[in-house]
Symmetry: D2
Subunit: 343 residues, 4 copies
Amino acid sequence: MNSSPLKTAVVGATGYTGLEIVKSLLDHPGVELTSLTAKVDETVGIHRIFPELSGRLELECSNLDVDDVCRKADLVFLALPHTVSMLFAPRFLQAGKKVIDLSADYRFPAAADFEKVYGAEHRDPAGVEEAVYGLPELFREEIAPARLLANPGCYPTAAVLAAYPALKAGLADPGEVIVDAKTGVTGAGRKASLAFLFPEVNENFKAYGLAVHKHTPEMESVLSRASGRKVRLEFAPHLLPVNRGILSTVYLRLEKPAGEDEVFELYREAYAGEPFVRVYPPGRLPELKDAVGTNNCLLGFKVNPRTRNLIVVSAIDNLLKGAAGQAVQNMNIMQGFPETSGL
Amino acid sequence: MNSSPLKTAVVGATGYTGLEIVKSLLDHPGVELTSLTAKVDETVGIHRIFPELSGRLELECSNLDVDDVCRKADLVFLALPHTVSMLFAPRFLQAGKKVIDLSADYRFPAAADFEKVYGAEHRDPAGVEEAVYGLPELFREEIAPARLLANPGCYPTAAVLAAYPALKAGLADPGEVIVDAKTGVTGAGRKASLAFLFPEVNENFKAYGLAVHKHTPEMESVLSRASGRKVRLEFAPHLLPVNRGILSTVYLRLEKPAGEDEVFELYREAYAGEPFVRVYPPGRLPELKDAVGTNNCLLGFKVNPRTRNLIVVSAIDNLLKGAAGQAVQNMNIMQGFPETSGL
Amino acid sequence: MNSSPLKTAVVGATGYTGLEIVKSLLDHPGVELTSLTAKVDETVGIHRIFPELSGRLELECSNLDVDDVCRKADLVFLALPHTVSMLFAPRFLQAGKKVIDLSADYRFPAAADFEKVYGAEHRDPAGVEEAVYGLPELFREEIAPARLLANPGCYPTAAVLAAYPALKAGLADPGEVIVDAKTGVTGAGRKASLAFLFPEVNENFKAYGLAVHKHTPEMESVLSRASGRKVRLEFAPHLLPVNRGILSTVYLRLEKPAGEDEVFELYREAYAGEPFVRVYPPGRLPELKDAVGTNNCLLGFKVNPRTRNLIVVSAIDNLLKGAAGQAVQNMNIMQGFPETSGL
Amino acid sequence: MNSSPLKTAVVGATGYTGLEIVKSLLDHPGVELTSLTAKVDETVGIHRIFPELSGRLELECSNLDVDDVCRKADLVFLALPHTVSMLFAPRFLQAGKKVIDLSADYRFPAAADFEKVYGAEHRDPAGVEEAVYGLPELFREEIAPARLLANPGCYPTAAVLAAYPALKAGLADPGEVIVDAKTGVTGAGRKASLAFLFPEVNENFKAYGLAVHKHTPEMESVLSRASGRKVRLEFAPHLLPVNRGILSTVYLRLEKPAGEDEVFELYREAYAGEPFVRVYPPGRLPELKDAVGTNNCLLGFKVNPRTRNLIVVSAIDNLLKGAAGQAVQNMNIMQGFPETSGL
């Protein structure tokens, strides 16, 4: 660890993800938080927006001024909407800063992929080429030297970690993957909206984005690349009446019979030494609440010999392993900090 | 009941209260629902906004056109924001229609009272003079012949019914009433807002509007008038993480010792024959869920001889007895329908 | 409708399902509720157990006395646990009563099927032979003359109605059906239990019973019989932190390409004239809250041409269409009442 | 801090409070957790009961064996039911251990007080005489040398900290205090129970224990002792549909006029230097969620000059400042650790 702490900034600090980054950095022994920005009417103490920070952090949050952030910080977290990050990331890189971007802007291998999925012109194709996809369990070695890191989507994190070992090992058919995922409401962000009012979500549950959700190509792209097989999957997201967490039920078609002990061994080995993946033994399944509040991805599974399906259940906290926690984990790898610092 | 059904309109049909009026009217044998209006981008089937109405109601909802409503309906429910109702109520009255207004615009005895509390000029002082306050348990005889009815606020309904018998009987000190009230989130209406997003309300609870909530003078005004004594009360509203319902805990200071049997007798007698008030015997208290979905006001109480307090707990559904249900009850009284029709 | 009302009893009246049967019967113009029984410490007014019934029903609930029930009622709802119904149903039938059983005891074609799935000896094999499976949309003609009716399981109702048209029409592969279902907590019944305490369920979500849930063979049996094809399905139930409702996401593999208009037409026709099934047009999906509080089964779907999956989403209220409401619907058919009476 | 860590045991580790003690101790640099006991069917890894501890703690939980605990630990947390702690505390004290008891058994000044309130004979009157009441903000100096510490009740912690400064300063009438408190469901403990099933609590809210709740005399006793005035208060607890937290609305009658700045100064000074009390400035009130997950007591207030009431709102996490967190805070004081260690 460096003797003087790393100076960090959070751009987009007033969202749910921004808050979680702030809280992790406050607990991090190797980091100093020096700058917070967001779209605000006027500069305001961050503890006024998030009273739970009262007494823990006295920093003010102001509108983004790239030069000012560059003066104050050496690593910048961008917690901005899609298509906005690409406008600012290059400027921070040019100033010699490291960037961890939590939007989708740099998650695809090429700008054209992004443009096809998000229907918007990419303004920083060179950045796309340079960026590293920050799922440590699959790409840790590429992450360490990265200057521009693309933090994975919340759903892809939960789904990819669940499906990867079986696909990689040739155990499951890469053409018949179904991901039935359920997310808490913070996944929709912190912005005024009729659809996410309490009485609209509470005592309710629904599917949305069937067949068209933009995380589908991200999952397919990452799983194909990591498993070396062309993966085609059906992704069906649902909205849960809880604040936090994603639980994904992933249906994999076994290409050959496999026992639960064999699957357990496969998954345990795939994630051996991983500080944030827990594989449950046969007979136990993770619940959402066991992942919430942690940076863990919990994995459990069931083999149904009658249908020849392998069902993998994964649980993460969408704001931590699905966003802010994974971003800090990536920072730790990029900086040579202990990977669990602040988490 | 009239041989041909009463034609009714709901102005402001896309809010939570509007929906409940619609549902009550659909169940009402003496009424036909002929017109729905709201601020909408374009005319749309009401079942598209509220899918639960699919198959039950084919009516369209369009922007308000007073003349059109007047052609179609003989009684109009105004489920509009405060200070908006006063702009339209006179026009419906002039056209010979009856009006049941669910805003605060006509709840005070004089326009000056409204102006003091709501900080806005009243545009229909004559209407204020004519309007009848629609709390049937206290003012049924005035309601029957009314043309313009002011439907009570949700909090005042719950608090007034809880405190009235003890104040009227001289049992409790009118100068020391405390109403600690807790409401479900639909009480805030159906509009996009950061404060009422699911993650802001869920797993949370808070007080708001202490000492300044606008329902305080409404409660004091109604209780003073009904009890014949000058009532001064402290009203403290709180926001519950539930969709519906108000539970109020009302602290009354006994002016003389009283046993629970005596209080029970007093309350039972005060509400004898009331179709929508239930007084629980000593030893039992109403819970919120027992009132939700009904037009009932449930009342229970405890006498604490040590502190000389009488604590009355009242529970209502804020959208029914606290708004739409009471509005339909008032319509029934005004039209000579059985008081429980549609409820 | 008969001139004198049908006398009915509810055996097992203190559970969530029992309460809903009681409420439906109270609203039913052709029925009189004459007897309530349950395991109780002492005979007690049902409104003491369910205060929401206060003022609506004065009936007492006592321990089951078959002779007493037979004296009072002509049709008996059995809301009893599995393996208990079979002990009492024959006695009511012998006394000339009609029986609507809400347990699993009579849902299979033969006693041996039940014994295999539930691991218990069946004590009334003759009853199993006689019993009719009460899913009106598929078996209405058999229901009308039934004396002993087996009310379907909550999950099977939601899943079968979602999958049936596509399987029957040969559109989907009967060997590759996946039902990812999510239920509210009342599905677990009303009994003291650590696992269903509020803090264990709230802000949580989990899968359970993967590959082994007892509703799987019920679904396969009914779908196979109704579609004329051997159906094999994967059923994965999950527990939602809501009181009521089941939303099922059903994945069907298309055997030939199909457009959404074609699927819509197929489903609309399959359920034409059904009072309690609503098929949503392409582009809209049902949400849980739109079904809760009704006896409806709402169906929506999405075709994914890329994966060749047809995804059908169905929503029901687990206590109504999934239990009590469907039981009353069956009673209506058996008695010649209008099918929607009381619902 | 001692060079070798303090060895600690948690007796009653499988409840919600026990879990929170365990989690705090795991984060505590000066402490080693060496023994966990509870009523269990068989010895079991604690992570099997609380999967969120997986990978963090490998300790087993077995039935209580006092001698075994004495061999392993030097300080014992008793998270046991009332009237059970008193059976074991003396044995640990006799073995030279320090005891922090989270039950009510040692909270009163004399055994007779306990017996009057709890209706059970006290089996350890000497312990009652010795025990120190562990509310650090009021009694820190007595806590430091204590061997037997009585951890305060959750409700008393929230209420006493809210009312104490105004009563101590003679600002408020000690004879007219009203505490309207609302708690999350974990306050009821983790035991199978019909009343705390999810569907009974969710979408519900209720008052309970009016005039008779056993925390009333605890509040009065502590406030009277700390303020030097005889306090008589009305305490009305309510059950919130949330997992954690207590929000109390405390009504105090001003004995003389006071402005909000004056009250703010009074409270700020009363809690100057306190690491876990935050006083909000006039115009802001604490919300439940800002306290949950922390050991803080948040205080805000409103003066109503019209009614001459001072309304103080306090928010705590019932499992932390209301139980486990305060217990660890007390341990820190007793051991000379930094007061915020592990918290």
